[in-house]
Symmetry: C2
Subunit: 303 residues, 2 copies
C-alpha cells in the first residue's frame, strides 16, 4: 500500500508524473515549468506596494496594483503609515465569500490623521493605465476580455475603454456602503471562496494576497449575518499592517512572482488548460481566468 | 457610526435593501425570493442518499446523486453500512483546493467486508440518466451546456450524449490513482476553493456537501506536499459516517433543497445574474455555473 499511497499522494488530482510509463510522451506540468523557468521570468514584489498584515497566525502578504486603483492604494499607504490598522481586527469571515478587516469599534471610530475616510470608487480605470495586459484566448462570461496585468488577473472592455481587476481567490477589495464613494480603504476584504466575479466593476479592487492565504481562509466563520463575528472577543486582532518598504530588509518576505507577460507564464497557463501526465484523462481545452495559477516563490539563494 | 455599520453590515457585498429610497424600484434579492417561495418549491434531502459525516467540529451533510454515479454511490453506501469510515480520518487539506478523507494507515489498510475497493470510473453518464436537467442560458467555457440536475450543478454534451456533475464549491468526488478504475469511494474529497472545473470528466463526482462546509473549509491546511498532514496526530478523526436512512428520525438533519427545476429557482438565478438593490451598480448580466446559489434550509415547523 505504500506504493499506492505514495503514488496517490503525488499523482492524485495533479498532473505529476507518477509511475509514468517509460515510453509515454511526457508533457510538462506546472511544477515542471516552474522548475525550468529562468530568473528573468520572475520579478520581485514591489516593496512600495506590498503590505504585510501581521495577525496571530503569521504574516499575510498583499501586493497592491496602483495602476488599477491609484487613489485607494495611496490612501491605504497613508493609513498604513499612520498605523491606522494596528490594533484593529478581522471582524468577518463568511464561508465561500470573504474575510474582512477594519475598525470593530462602531461608536468611537479610530480617527485618521492624514488619510481620507472615503474616496470616489475606482471600480474601473482607462485601458491606458494597464500597460502589462496579456490576454487569455479563452472566452469569459463576465467580461469581453480577460487576462493578466503584471501578476494580477484582470479584465477589460475595449468598447468602453475600461479595465479592472477581477475577484479571483485572494483578491483584496475595498468595503463600501451603498454609495460608490463610500469606501476609502479603511475596511478591506479578501476573497476566500469561489470567485464572486459579479462583484467586478462594483467595488474597488486594490490587489491580491500573494502569501498567507491559509491564515485567512481557515479563520472560524462568523455566526452573525454575513459572517460577522457575533461578539468582539471573536475578532482576530491585527498586530500591524506595514508597507514592505518601511520594514528592514532582513524582516521582509523574499517573494517573487512569475511575470505574467513572459513566455514561461504562457506555458504554465497552457499546462493548466490542457493538463498532461498519466492522471489526466480528458484535457479541459479551456482555462477560466481564476483557475490560471500565478506562481509565487521564494527565490533561490544566490551565491 | 452605528447606522453606517448596521447599514454596511446588511448591504455591503449583498443586494439587500439598506437605506432603500422610498421611490426606488425594488428588485427582489435571493433572500427575498427564498422568503417568498412556496413549500412546493422545496424538496427534502433523500435519506437513502444522504450521508452524515460526524467529525469533532460537528456534522457534515452530503447528498449523493446516484443518477450520476450509480455504482460508486452504492459502494459508498456499502462502505458506510459496514462502518468502514468510522475511526478513519481527514488526512489532507490543501488551500483553495480540497479536503480529503480515508484510511490514514498505509501499511495495514482497513479491510472491507462487502464493499469493493475499486470500481470502473463513472466520470460521465448517458444523458438519459439525468431526468431533471434545467439548462442555464449562460455560456460556459468547460462544457457545451451547464445547469442543474435535481439540486446538483451539472454539465452535458449533446454530441457525445454524456452528462456529468461539476466541481463547484462543496462537490464531493472519489480520489483515485492514475487508473480510471483505481478509485472506489473509500477515499473521498470535497472542494473547498475556487471550482477546479478542469477535473470534470476526469474523476467520479458523487454528490455535494449541503450543510457543514465550514467544518471542512476551516481545517488547518496540511504542510506536506499537496496539503497532506505531515504527522498522524494532525489528522482529523472521523467519528462515523452514517446514511441518514439508518439514523433515527429524531437525530436526522432536517434540511430541504430548493427544487432547481422550479420557477422559484429560476428567479433566484436571475436575481444573482442581475443583482438589484441600491448597492449594486453594474449587473453582471451573466452567471457562471458555480456562482448560482443552490438554497438549502431547515424547513419551517408546521403546526
Amino acid at each position: 500500500m505504500t506504493a499506492f499511497r505514495t503514488c496517490s499522494a503525488i499523482a492524485m488530482l495533479l498532473a505529476i508524473h507518477c509511475a509514468q510509463a517509460a515510453d509515454a510522451p511526457v508533457k510538462a506540468s506546472v511544477a515542471d515549468l516552474i522548475k525550468a523557468s529562468r530568473p528573468s521570468d520572475w520579478r520581485p514584489l514591489d516593496p512600495d506596494n506590498t503590505l504585510y498584515m501581521e495577525i496571530p497566525g503569521g504574516r499575510v502578504v498583499i501586493e497592491m496594483a496602483p495602476a488599477f486603483a491609484p487613489n485607494h492604494v495611496a490612501n491605504i499607504k497613508a493609513l498604513v503609515r499612520e498605523r491606522y490598522f494596528d490594533g484593529l481586527a478581522i471582524v468577518r469571515a463568511q464561508d465561500n465569500w470573504v474575510v474582512q478587516w477594519g475598525d470593530p469599534n462602531e461608536t468611537e471610530p479610530k480617527p485618521m490623521k492624514t488619510a481620507q475616510r472615503t474616496l470616489p470608487g475606482e471600480f474601473t480605470v482607462p485601458l491606458k493605465n494597464d500597460r502589462h495586459f496579456t490576454r487569455l484566448p479563452d472566452r469569459d462570461g463576465y467580461a469581453p476580455q480577460v487576462g493578466h496585468s503584471n501578476g494580477f488577473p484582470s479584465a477589460r472592455d475595449p468598447k468602453s475603454g475600461r479595465a479592472w481587476l477581477t475577484h479571483c481567490y485572494g483578491a483584496v477589495g475595498v468595503g463600501r456602503d451603498n454609495g460608490s464613494d463610500s469606501g476609502g480603504g479603511a475596511e478591506l476584504y479578501a476573497v476566500i471562496g469561489h470567485a464572486p466575479r459579479h462583484l467586478d466593476r462594483n467595488i474597488t479592487v486594490v490587489g491580491r494576497v500573494v502569501s498567507g492565504m491559509p491564515l485567512l481562509s481557515t479563520l472560524p466563520r462568523g455566526t452573525a449575518p454575513m459572517g460577522f463575528y457575533d461578539t468582539p472577543d471573536k475578532n482576530v486582532p491585527i498586530k500591524a499592517i506595514r508597507l514592505a518598504a518601511d520594514v528592514p530588509q532582513a524582516e521582509r518576505s523574499k517573494l517573487e512572482v512569475m511575470r505574467t507577460d513572459s513566455a514561461a507564464y504562457q506555458a504554465v497557463v497552457e499546462a493548466q488548460r490542457n493538463r498532461g501526465g498519466p492522471w489526466n484523462k480528458v484535457p479541459a481545452g479551456y482555462i477560466e481566468l481564476c483557475n490560471a495559477p500565478i506562481p509565487v516563490r521564494e527565490p533561490a539563494v544566490r551565491h
